[in-house]
Symmetry: C2
Subunit: 135 residues, 2 copies
Amino acid sequence: MGYTISQVAKKFDLTAHTIRYYDKEGLLPFVDRSKTGNREFSDSDLDWLKLICCLKNTGMPIKQIKQYIGWCLQGDDTIEIRRQMFLDHRKEVLKQMDNLKENLKIIDYKLEFYATNCNINDNRNKDCNQLSIGK
Amino acid sequence: MGYTISQVAKKFDLTAHTIRYYDKEGLLPFVDRSKTGNREFSDSDLDWLKLICCLKNTGMPIKQIKQYIGWCLQGDDTIEIRRQMFLDHRKEVLKQMDNLKENLKIIDYKLEFYATNCNINDNRNKDCNQLSIGK
DNA sequence: TTACCATTTAAAGTTAGCTCTAAGTCAAGT
DNA sequence: ACTTGACTTAGAGCTAACTTTAAATGGTAA
């Protein structure tokens, strides 16, 4: 039978509106319809959607995801460009992870500061309001 | 003397426009002005801005950063709530890192697939177009 | 003095990614 | 037959974070 849009929405923690929006934007050209025109998602469709969410959640714009879907539909001639896209995107993801790590250091520095100067012995004379975050 | 807005923009890889926007949104209430009304950034201001960028680049909305800045201005009564904000935000950042790691796995799976089935011996009969990305 | 910068403000415009509304269709239950 | 609820579309509306524009001011260099 396949899954209805609301079942899929639940599974992926999206709204049906959002899934229709993705469809409208060209991200789901493969999803079939029932006799009455309702979307029917197959298991393979869920795999596509999982990949789409992966790309979206790692910061790829919807337009670029659409382009990738288009390449997939075009067939094997686009295999190399698709592979390159994943390589490039992988680099992007690693960069994001590095950025998060760096920023986590700053946050941890601040937390250390609050712990050391503010909460032990409720010492309110020391200035926890300063913003020096180290070099 | 302090730094001009364009010097700061350069340092932080932002535009002067963006910095003025942050100021307008209440993120930079501490920045002084010269006699002629131009912003003059001190070293301490740069530390603030560094923290602001850290929070922004880890996904904190500008409104929430503004709220934090407001708490700082209010003084020591808000220390505990600020500390809690950093604790909460730290959790968010860790969650983001976990998400990135999970999604990186999917990307690596795809890359492995492209490497195995598509590029070795230029074997174009195998279907690299499929989207099954594993369980 | 004139030209050329960088700066200022207020306000309008842009983009991405939804989010919601209106009006309609269809299938199942009472 | 009627009601309820899930689905459909087109299109309008919304929010965040800029980004650009217009008009004005001030400092420096030739």
